[in-house]
């Protein structure tokens, strides 16, 4: 497996292929700042929860420019430990404390694989999209190896995309080629 591009995002920093990208804001506001800089043409971004925004921005920065062979990854395989806990909490708030107004827009994001769907729609990737919940990022490697082994996926946007609240998140996502 070959890593051809990589991005690492924390609430205070963004590093692409080992080079830091200067940002002014932090946390969720930083993700909005990155959206305006790297995308800006996708109002649906503002409907997304923090986890999806994180994954969306990572994908946007990685996929913005065509790869050397001009091909898009054929699969999107992401993982984390907390599933969609931040959105779950936000959704719960609409049906707690004496209130009962379940929000469909929030319920949409109470499954972590939604972020893979958002990226697939944005980049028209009709290959595999998968989401795994794992104890640690290293556990994803065997999944990627075995996915490429059996094909048909030959490349993937893959990695760790974790969020526990609006200002606590971490993503390390790569474009990986199988050769």
């Amino acid at each position: 497996m070959r890593v051809i591009r990589e991005i690492e995002i924390t609430p205070t920093s963004v590093v692409r292929n080992g080079q830091p990208i200067a940002v002014e804001a932090t946390g969720e506001k930083m993700l909005v700042e990155l959206y305006r800089r790297f995308a800006g043409d996708y109002p649906k971004f503002f409907k997304m929860d923090t986890l999806s925004r994180l994954g969306f921005i990572a994908a946007e920065i990685l996929l913005k420019e065509p790869t050397a062979n001009g091909q898009k990854p054929t699969a999107i395989i992401l993982a984390n430990r907390s599933a969609s806990i931040k959105n779950d909490t936000d959704y719960m708030a609409t049906i707690s404390n004496g209130k009962y107004y379940p929000s469909p827009a929030l319920f949409v994001y109470t499954l972590p694989n939604i972020i893979t769907g958002e990226i697939a729609i944005r980049y028209q990737i009709q290959g595999e999209t998968s989401f795994y919940i794992l104890d640690k990022p290293e556990d994803l490697e065997q999944i990627l190896l075995s996915t490429f082994n059996l094909q048909p996926s030959t490349s993937a946007l893959a990695g760790w995309c974790e969020c526990s609240d609006a200002n606590t998140f971490y993503a390390k996502i790569q474009i990986i080629w199988n050769n």
């Binding site: 909005v32 109002p43 503002f46 409907k47 107004y101 379940p102 929000s103 469909p104 827009a105």
Partner: protein
């Protein structure tokens, strides 16, 4: 009615996450779905929830929403006629 329309526009912006918009950006008579704001089925459900939460209107049949949500004006007119809050 005008006050309700302005209030409704502000509520729609919050409920549907139109972060880059102000009420002045929304045309009262433009279609909400399809053209205009280009809302989708989840947005429609969220508007149904908005009517319940803010105005005490329960819409049992989502298909009735099509007529009500033609524009901000038709939505405001429906709310005016049916609000319990």
């Amino acid at each position: 009615m005008e006050q309700l329309i302005e209030q409704l526009k502000a509520q729609i912006i919050v409920a549907l996450n139109f972060e880059d918009m102000t009420p002045a950006d929304i045309d009262t008579d433009a279609p909400l779905f399809g053209e205009g704001l280009g809302l989708d089925s989840i947005d429609a459900l969220e508007l149904i929830m908005l009517m319940d939460r803010e105005y005490g209107i329960k819409l049992a049949d989502p298909k009735a929403g099509k007529a009500i949500f033609q524009s901000v004006r038709t939505m405001a007119e429906y709310i005016q006629a049916n609000r319990t809050k």
